[in-house]
């Protein structure tokens, strides 16, 4: 009980202390609350930061891995392409070489050969030279022939003139005008006169033709005497009635003009037609000697692919004279070992 008494004595004190405590707590509460908020905020922040950090780290790892993967993939493609282009360029340059060789060979063999052209032109020049020479010679010959002819005519004319003037020749007693006594020797004309015979004009028999019935030339003289007019026209002519009749007879062409140009063909056709009409059987009976035997091909020259053209077929004309060398061209491009080594090919075509 004592305790109770003690406690009763101390009631006030206790109440005061409780109040005090409550007041103090009331005073401290806000501060404590703020402090608690701060502590919590820090903790939560650091927690979520560490989480984010963790997430970032994970994302980086994923991205790194994936980007690495992509890069490697891209690199592979790039590498492939580069090698492809490299090889393609190489093949192109090689094929250029092959084509160059082949085209050069082909052109020289079949189309144009510089040396044969050169040889041809040289030969042509020689030919031209000879032709020119021959033609000049021919022209000279002709000129000479013409000159000879002229000289001949000239001489003939001179001789004729000399014959006409033969009376001017000197005689034993009297020197002629071309034989001057003051000169040591006679002139050339004198010698010419001496060498020719005098011209004696033959006297044509003066005979006037009475009448030229046919007027053999258009410039014959006009006849002076007319013949008596006979009953029928003069000359070897028929009776006028006959002539008249003949003049108005119908036109009679010669056989050549009268016949048709195609008469032979027409006659043949006619014969054929007649034969066709009179024929009894269209399938003409042939004797056994005319029986046609179907063609049996030879065993050696046939195959299941057809006929073998042994020396019968002509593929291409070869101009042997355009060949530079008789042998064929040897391959100059060495084989490419890398192609044999690699199974994989980067080019699209077949190697």
């Amino acid at each position: 009980m004592a305790a109770l008494v003690r406690l009763t004595d101390q009631v006030d004190e206790i109440i005061n202390s409780i109040y005090d405590g409550k007041n103090q707590a009331e005073e401290e509460r806000l501060r404590e609350y703020k402090a608690a908020v701060k502590v919590q905020a820090w903790f939560r922040a650091s927690r979520s930061r560490s989480y984010l950090k963790h997430l970032n780290k994970c994302a980086l790892k994923v991205q790194r891995t994936y980007r690495g993967y992509l890069g490697r993939r891209y690199f592979r493609v790039l590498l492939k392409n580069t090698v492809f282009i490299m090889k393609l360029n190489h093949y192109n340059s090689m094929s250029c070489k092959i084509q160059k060789m082949w085209r050069g060979y082909y052109v020289r063999k079949y189309i144009f050969n510089y040396y044969s052209r050169k040889r041809y032109l040289e030969a042509l020049q020689i030919k031209n030279h000879t032709i020119r020479g021959e033609l000049t010679e021919f022209a000279e010959q002709q000129e000479a022939a013409r000159k000879r002819e002229e000289e001949k005519n000239d001489k003939k004319r001179q001789e004729y003139e000399a014959r006409k003037r033969h009376h001017l020749v000197s005689t034993e007693v009297m020197p002629g005008i071309y034989n001057s006594p003051f000169l040591p020797y006679p002139s050339e004309t004198e010698y010419l006169l001496r060498s020719v015979k005098p011209l004696i004009r033959k006297k044509a028999a003066e005979k006037e033709p009475l009448f030229d019935p046919v007027c053999a030339s258009y410039n014959s003289k006009v006849p002076t005497v007319l013949p008596p007019i006979p009953q029928k026209p003069q000359g070897p002519f028929r009776e006028p009635i006959d002539v008249q009749k003949q003049r108005y007879k119908p036109f009679q062409p010669s056989l050549r003009v009268a016949t048709d140009f195609y008469s032979l063909e027409k006659a043949r056709q006619q014969l054929k037609d007649a034969e066709w009409v009179t024929r009894i059987n269209d399938n003409i009976l042939q004797p056994f000697t005319h029986r046609s035997i179907p063609y049996e091909p030879l065993l050696h020259t046939t195959s299941k692919f057809g006929h073998l053209p042994y020396g019968t077929k002509f593929f291409r004309h070869e101009y042997i004279d355009r060949h530079i060398v008789p042998q064929n061209f040897k391959t100059l491009v060495p084989p490419i070992p890398i192609f044999d080594k690699l199974n994989d090919t980067y080019s699209q075509g077949q190697v």
Binding site: L124, Q125, R132, Y218, P228, P233, R247, V257
Partner: protein, 507 residues
Amino acid sequence: MSRQVLQVFEQYQKSRTQFVQTVAELASRPQNIETLQNAGVMSLLRPLLLDIVPAIQQTAALALGRLANYNDDLAEAVVKGDILPQLVYSLAEQNRFYKKAAAFVLRAVAKHSPQLAQSVVDCGALDALVICLEEFDPGVKESAAWALGYIARHNAELAQAVVDAGAVPLLVLCIQEPEMSLKRIAASALSDICKHSPELAQTVVDAGAIAHLAQMILNQDAKLKRQVFSALSQIAKHSVDLAEMVVEAEIFPAVLTCLKDSDEYVKKNVATLIREIAKHTPELAQLIVNAGGVAAVVDYVGESKCNVRLPGIMMLGYVAAHSENLAMAVIVSKGVVQLAIALSEEQEDHIQAAAAWALGQIGRHTPEHAKAVAVANVLPKLLQCYLRADASEDLQTKSKKALKNILQKCVHLPALEPLLHDAPPNILKHVVGQFSKVLPHDSKARRLFVTSGGLKKIQEIKAEPGSALGEYINTINNCYPEEIVKYYSPGYSDALLERVEQFNPKV
């Protein structure tokens, strides 16, 4: 008594004879013809054609022929006077002198125009003339062949009518006769028939004319040779086949000698024949070249003048046009030099045009050919022909085309230099184009181009930007350093002086 009666007839016949003979005599002089025509000579001569005395008949025909020969009015008067049927009827029956005279009349009428020739044909003269060709007398054959030739020469229909009358085989027979004049006239008639169409020429060839014509090319007679070569060229001109037939008659080395003949027309006709053969195919041209024909023709072009040289010039052009090989053959045969001489010597436009064309054909193949043409100093002459004020249109187009062809292949710069100075813009374009092709690749040429003043000239050209000429000039300018281009540009000295004025000296 009867003596008196007969004397009247005698008198009459005598005066008829005298009349026709005098008229025939008068008709041979052109100045009398008008008077004769006005005096009504036609109507007087017509009854005399039917005279009972043959001498009068033929003299009347002769007079008529001379009248009709004079001009086409009189020939038409003969046609209108219904004289032709009489002549044609009597052509079949009368003696040879009359036939000759009648054929002469027909020939004289037919020669003037196709219409008159057609009227001769309509009278049925062809059959009668063809029968005359079968006559024994060469004179009759000659005049008949002459008349047929004159009828056939006008156009293809008339020639076809002559062929249809069956004249060709007989004309071919006439060629083989010994008489020169008959051969000549028959060859000329064949030539007149052949010239119209390939079919007619084929008919003549089928009659075997070529072999006989080819035999006569070495004949001595110049006039015959003229006709023979004319006939052969008329045959060869139509088609490749016919030309090959002519060549197969082995005329080739032989005809070349005739290029040296003394007669101008023989030479001309031979050159025409060679031209007609060469123009068809490269093979035929090659054959002529291999026979040395080009050298012979080149010599011929050098020796002859004016119109005679024209076929030779054209032949060279045709040969060169076929292929580069043949063009090279012309060049090595020294054809270019002769063509250049012809181009500068000849006065007439059409010959110059032919020479220009031939040169263009030679130079258009490769740079080698163009160089061969250019070094003969042809380009300035061609330019001159093109620019001459009085040049014909044909010459201008031909020389322009030739210039263009040669320039587009020419890389021989020294020959191009002169053209820079005096060519008009449309030619200059090609010249500058050639420079722009060569200069980027040839350093020596670049240097020479500057020293010869070409670059300066180029800077002076005013080209529109964007045109082909402008492009070429740009290409050339790009081959040179900028300073030198500037140095040669017009107005550079002024620009330099201006810079001197604006320069501030550092003191």
